[in-house]
Symmetry: C2
Subunit: 437 residues, 2 copies
């Protein structure tokens, strides 16, 4: 499997959209820098596309183009495939075929790694080749590399991450410009930061996929995440931002993971973080990953979580690694270090944190006492409570906002269930978690 | 030079203080994780100390201890030396001897890399071995790795970095608690964050060394830095913090680098950064490096810049890399990618940024006009000017504070020189730079 030193590393690109075009541009512009890091030149041999006649970036040579995947997978001289097409299929089967044939694979596909990462890693290890996926999380931010290599001598106790640029942009605009969710979303769509169908982004699914990929490396964890809490940002409104501001917080959409012994705690939802937190100023379309290492202490990485060139930078950085391993005659060494264990998900009721609760209530005497008693009955103690005579609730409701001390989520939920039966309640109570990060 | 796969990588530790003890602890605790990443076990063979009888961490075995460096450098079986003793000598000659003998070297020594890094890198490349120095900048923050590997396919246009935890702690306390410099310094000393002689930290020299190391990797630059501007934080006072706050800024001590074509711009000084900047909340003893990649865009790394365990994490991460390269029979590949060019330093007069100027003046009519005219005569235009009837200047002086538009530093300095001749001036004018980051 070892190429001759000096012989080139042959690369096939699967897909040639914006990220693929960026990859070709970086390879052309930086060949002289990449060579000494790899020990051999990179040679693009194939670019798999659906349409031969579609216009491509000038760096894409016509003779590389093919619509036939077999040409690539049957060519023993292809060392590495770079999957930048996205989606589950045919990307999944392409990567499987590549690994099966002993080729190394680099992918930017978060969906694929979140769903099939452990099996694909196992396949790569069994075949003695590499699977690299830096670009699947956080675009150009070297979070995967940091977890895999910089922390190779440490263990991670927790991660708190802003993983979706679209949601972060919307929350930033809601906070700074006082926009409603729908107006901020429209603005994000007009700017190209949000899709026409924004579900994947604003409902937390995109962030959830990235958190699952991070958990693989941070906690060496393969977790059944079917019961993972995944909440988006659609229901947040101006009153939440006003209360957050008043209590000294800002609202961020976070993917959160904790190593909890046998179990792993994973959850995705909007949260209140202190305004002086290092995550508080990670605004607009930026992503940020805050990692707590047991020996390292806190480590934050911030950058563009999406975009063709940042993502291409990560794809090429991975290519350098796998190409180098191959040239050295040690394919698979990068991937061999990923050791996954099946671990259970901590039930959400067992999560312990502080809570922001908001009840929109009819303004009757005794309401505050009833709410406080319901919380007290479940052992949830109140740190602050504010009732404001605001008129923007429905049906003349006023919001009562509560910050709890550290509590178990199950107890908080039971108290909320009791309060929900009260006739003074207008609309659904709001539960947001407060994260010290 | 290639070890047999499965044979161990033999490591000698030079020094066994707090960082060395941390390294031994990590190697003991994480051997099972390190093995698959390296492809071989790590075996500590020697620990060079000055005193055999001094108490050591329990992870340090008595039989490893030696006071004789020759035992290590004459032992062909030693693959890697880890230099965690600090200082210029004998660390410098030890690393030279190690590289000369074809051993790989890992160092946490910023002084050594800043002064002799290019020569040591050249020596390592000539000898076909590796020199790694992640721990020399930013403790546990993977900044060197990020510049060398994650950005291997990109080029860096600028860096803005909080590189000294002591200065950052003092500035944070001056801002948040209203302390004077001397009281905040005393507090930092009491907490163990500052040395009895704080010169290296608070006068900017420590940050300057780290910036020079970063510039080697960020700009592939070997620069004569004898004329580099290095300013510390001693002269900042409450009035500066009050004005910064008023204009929407916070004061940070920064190491700044820009790729300016033929030249490199490097400077170390306190600066005003916007309160909503991602660097603004990097407070206390934290360090933060903001890197702008041409393809990547912005990337910020934050973490503990010092401390035994964070630094040990970086030393062991480097050890994993050089050990792996050695086991693979490819020693030197990591270092070979560092390609340094001699580049000139941009003269400070040619630096272009915005400026905060403060003149403590006797409160006479016409003062403002004279100052404004002097700036105007040099083509420096004023964005904001504030005069406050404050009594805390000396001799009844009131501070006049000016924010300029983007200007050349030479022009600003000429204007200040003209203003300094005016009889109304009390004390030295203050020039601080404003950084958009």
């Amino acid at each position: 499997m070892k190429s001759e030193l000096g012989s080139s590393v042959r690369v096939a690109l699967l897909g040639c959209g914006t990220v693929g075009g960026g990859v070709l541009r970086l390879l052309r512009d930086n060949g002289s820098v990449l060579f000494p890091r790899i020990g051999a030149p990179i040679e693009v041999t194939h670019v798999l596309v659906q349409n031969l006649d579609k216009p491509r970036v000038p760096e894409c040579k016509r003779e590389w183009l093919t619509t036939d995947p077999d040409v690539i997978f049957n060519d023993e001289k292809v060392d590495v495939v770079l999957e930048v097409m996205g989606g589950e299929q045919p990307a999944w089967s392409y990567i499987e075929r590549a690994l099966e044939g002993g080729k190394a694979a680099v992918t930017a596909n978060k969906l694929l790694i979140a769903k099939h990462g452990p099996a694909l890693v196992a396949r790569a290890i069994a075949k003695g080749t590499d699977l690299a996926f830096e670009a699947s999380v956080g675009g150009g931010i070297p979070i995967i590399r940091t977890l895999r290599e910089a922390l190779s001598s440490d263990s991670v106790s927790s991660v708190h991450a802003i993983l979706n640029g679209t949601s972060n942009y919307i929350l930033t605009r809601m906070r700074d410009a006082g926009l409603s969710f729908s107006v901020a979303l429209k603005e994000a769509q007009d700017l190209g930061y949000a899709e026409a169908d924004p579900t994947l982004d604003v409902d937390g699914h995109d962030a959830a996929q990235k958190l699952i990929v991070m958990a693989m490396l941070a906690f060496a964890a393969q977790v059944d995440t079917t019961k993972m809490v995944v909440e988006g940002i659609r229901s947040l409104d101006e009153a939440d931002f006003a209360f957050a501001e008043r209590f000294g917080f800002t609202l961020k959409h976070l993917g959160i993971g904790h190593d909890r012994g046998e179990k792993v705690e994973l959850r995705v939802h909007p949260a209140l973080v202190r305004k002086n937190s290092v995550l508080a100023n990670v605004d607009g379309v930026l992503n940020g990953m805050f990692v707590m290492g047991r020996a390292l202490g806190p480590c934050l990485l911030v950058g563009r979580g999406a975009g063709d060139m940042p993502t291409a930078v990560s794809v090429v950085a991975d290519l350098v690694d796998v190409a180098r391993a191959r040239i050295e005659g040690q394919p698979g060494l990068m991937t061999r270090g990923i050791q996954l264990k099946q671990r259970g998900l901590l039930p959400q009721d067992d999560v312990v944190t502080r809570y922001y609760l908001r009840f929109d209530v009819g303004d009757h005497p005794g309401v505050i006492g009833t709410i406080a008693s319901a919380l007290g009955a479940e052992g949830v103690s109140i740190e602050q409570m504010v009732q404001e005579g605001r008129a923007d609730g429905e049906g003349g409701a006023v919001p009562v906002c509560i910050i709890t001390h550290v509590s178990k989520e199950g107890a908080v939920r039971r108290a909320i269930a009791a309060i929900e039966k009260q006739p003074f309640l207008r609309g659904r109570p709001r539960l947001l978690r407060i994260e010290e990060v």
